[in-house]
C-alpha cells in the first residue's frame, strides 16, 4: 500500500509546489522545514515553472517489475528555470536521440499503478518541447 505517502506528496508531485526561503531566497523542492543555507524556518509556498532543460540522463533497459513493460525509457535530471533540479522520467521520446541540453516541458502523467486493483499514482514527467 502506497496510499499515505502518495497522498502526502501530492502538492509537489502534482503541481511542483516548493518552499522559497523568505530570508535568502533558497528554493527547497520538495519543501523543507529549515533552510540549508541560512537556517531560517520562514518559507513561502511557490509553484515552479514547467519549463527547463536536460542536465543529464540515463537509459533504463532493464527495470523493476512495475516499469518492465515501459523499457527502454529515459530518466534524467532536469533543471527548471528557477535553478531547481529534479529527477524525472523523460517520456514520449526515442531514447537513442536524446541529448543533454534539450529543452523540456513538465507534464502530468501516470507514474505507476499499485497492482491491478490498487490506486493509480500520478505525478510529473518531462517531454521534449
Amino acid at each position: 500500500m502506497i496510499t499515505a505517502r502518495y497522498h502526502r506528496e501530492i502538492p509537489q508531485r502534482y503541481r511542483l509546489e516548493a518552499g522559497k526561503c523568505k530570508k535568502c531566497g533558497f528554493i527547497a523542492f520538495p519543501h523543507r522545514l529549515v533552510c540549508p543555507k541560512c537556517k531560517s524556518q520562514d518559507f513561502e509556498t511557490i509553484r515552479l515553472s514547467d519549463e527547463g532543460k536536460i542536465l543529464t540522463f540515463t537509459i533504463v533497459r532493464v527495470a523493476s517489475d512495475k516499469f518492465s513493460k515501459q523499457t527502454p525509457f529515459a530518466v534524467g535530471i532536469v533543471e527548471l528555470k528557477e535553478g531547481v533540479k529534479l529527477t524525472t522520467q523523460i517520456a514520449d521520446v526515442d531514447v537513442d536521440k536524446l541529448e543533454i541540453g534539450q529543452k523540456v516541458k513538465i507534464v502530468f502523467r501516470k507514474i505507476q499503478e499499485d497492482g491491478k486493483a490498487g490506486i493509480l499514482c500520478y505525478g510529473y514527467k518531462a517531454v521534449l518541447i
Binding site: I10, Y14, R15, R47, K69, Q70, A91, D92, D94, V107, F108, R109, K110, I111, G115, K116, L120, Y122, K125
Partner: protein
C-alpha cells in the same frame, strides 16, 4: 454575456495508421480508408489516461482564460474511460491545477456526448449566477475490440472549456438537447470492449439525434446554415459528420476546420469538443459556430457560439490542436499498439 473564456485541447503523440490495422486482420486497407475516411488515429502513451489528458487540456484552458484557478467553482469531466470505476477523475485534476478544495466536482458519462454534457452544465451554472467560472471537459482513451470496425476509430484526446461572464471569447447564444432510448451501442458493467448494433448506429441513432438537436436549434435561433462560418458534429468516422452536415444544408467548407477525424480518429467524449477547439484556434470575431455532439444510447447536445473580440487575444496562449495533430507523431506498429492498449495477455 456568458460563454467560453478559456479553452485547451490535448492529443497524445502516438499514432497507428488504419493501413497497419487493416493488414493485421487481412482486410483491404484501401477499402477501409475510403469507406470510413480514416487515415490514422491517436493512441495514448502507456502513462496517459483520461485524467492526464484532461489535465493537459485544462492547464491550457486556465492559461488562455488567464484567471486564478481558485475562482473556478465547478469541474466536470465527461468520459466513457474514466480510469477508476469508483473515484472521480476531477478530484485528481483539481489538485493538479490548484483548484479548490472549495469546488463542485463530478464525472459525467453518456457514451460519446459526456463532454458536451459537462460543457452544458458548466455553462448553465455560470449563467444562473451560481458561480463565476465553471469548467467542462470531454476526454477519452477509448478501446475498440481487435478486428472490429471500431478499432480503426477509437482514439484518445480531449478538450477543456472554462465558462464565464467576463472577457468572453466565444459567447453561447443557444443550446438544445435531444434524447431517446436507442440501443445502438453499449458496454455492460465489467465488459472490456463495447458492443454495437451495426447498421442500427446510423439513421435511428446518429442522424436522428443530431438532426433533432440541430433543427431545434436552428428554429430557436431563427438562423439558417448559411449564417455560420463553421460547423462541427460528432465524428465517429470521417463519413458521418460530412453526411449529417450535408443533410442539414452545411457545406464542406463550413465543416473543413473542425473535421479532424481522418487524422485523429474518434476521441469519443472529446470528439466534437476537440473539433470545436480546432475551430476556436482560428475563428475571427463575429464568426458563428454550430456544434452538435452525439452519444449512443442516445442523445445530442447542440450549441451555437459566436466569437468575440477577445478570441484572437487568447488563441496563441496555448497549444493549437492542428499543431499537435500534424506534428511530432510517433508511429506504432500493431504489436506496440497492442501492448500500449493492454490487448496482450501477460503474467502480472
Amino acid at each position: 454575456m456568458v460563454g467560453i473564456v478559456g479553452y485547451g485541447s490535448y492529443l497524445p503523440r502516438y499514432r497507428i495508421k488504419a493501413e497497419v490495422i487493416a493488414k493485421q486482420w487481412g482486410s483491404d486497407p484501401a477499402a477501409i480508408i475510403r469507406g470510413l475516411q480514416l487515415n490514422e488515429k491517436t493512441v495514448p502513451g502507456q502513462d496517459e489516461d483520461t485524467i492526464t489528458i484532461s489535465v493537459a487540456a485544462a492547464r491550457d484552458a486556465v492559461k488562455r482564460a488567464n484567471i486564478n484557478p481558485q475562482d473556478i467553482g465547478a469541474v466536470y469531466i465527461g468520459s466513457e474511460s474514466h480510469p477508476y470505476a469508483v473515484k472521480p477523475s476531477g478530484a485528481t485534476l483539481i489538485d493538479a491545477l490548484g483548484i479548490g478544495p472549495d469546488v463542485h466536482v463530478a464525472s459525467y458519462e453518456f457514451a460519446c456526448k459526456a463532454g458536451s454534457e459537462a460543457m452544458y452544465v458548466a455553462y448553465s451554472l455560470v449563467k444562473s449566477g451560481e458561480m463565476k467560472y465553471a469548467m467542462g471537459i470531454g476526454a477519452d482513451t477509448s478501446q475498440g475490440a481487435p478486428g472490429d470496425a471500431l478499432e480503426y476509430s477509437a482514439s484518445a484526446g480531449g478538450a477543456a472549456f472554462i465558462m464565464g461572464k467576463e472577457k468572453v471569447a466565444a459567447e453561447i447564444l443557444f443550446t438544445h438537447s435531444y434524447t431517446s432510448d436507442t440501443p445502438d451501442f453499449w458496454r455492460r458493467e465489467g465488459e472490456f470492449y463495447p458492443r454495437h448494433a451495426g447498421r442500427f448506429t446510423g439513421d435511428p441513432a446518429y442522424f436522428k439525434h443530431i438532426m433533432g438537436a440541430a433543427n431545434a436549434m436552428l428554429e430557436k435561433s431563427k438562423m439558417s446554415p448559411k449564417d455560420f462560418k463553421y460547423a462541427v458534429f460528432h465524428m465517429p468516422n470521417g463519413k458521418f459528420p460530412q453526411e449529417v452536415g450535408k443533410r442539414l444544408g452545411f457545406t464542406k467548407e463550413q465543416l473543413e476546420v473542425g473535421w479532424i477525424v481522418p487524422w485523429m480518429g474518434n476521441t469519443y467524449s472529446g470528439s466534437s469538443p476537440t473539433g470545436l477547439a480546432a475551430i476556436l484556434d482560428v475563428a475571427k470575431p463575429g464568426d458563428s459556430i454550430f456544434m452538435v455532439s452525439f452519444g449512443s444510447g442516445a442523445g445530442s447536445d447542440g450549441f451555437i457560439f459566436r466569437a468575440t473580440d477577445e478570441l484572437p487575444k487568447i488563441q496563441n496562449l496555448g497549444v493549437k490542436l492542428r499543431d499537435m495533430l500534424l506534428n511530432n507523431q510517433i508511429y506504432l506498429n500493431y504489436g506496440e499498439y497492442a501492448k500500449f492498449r493492454h490487448k496482450i495477455k501477460i503474467n502480472e
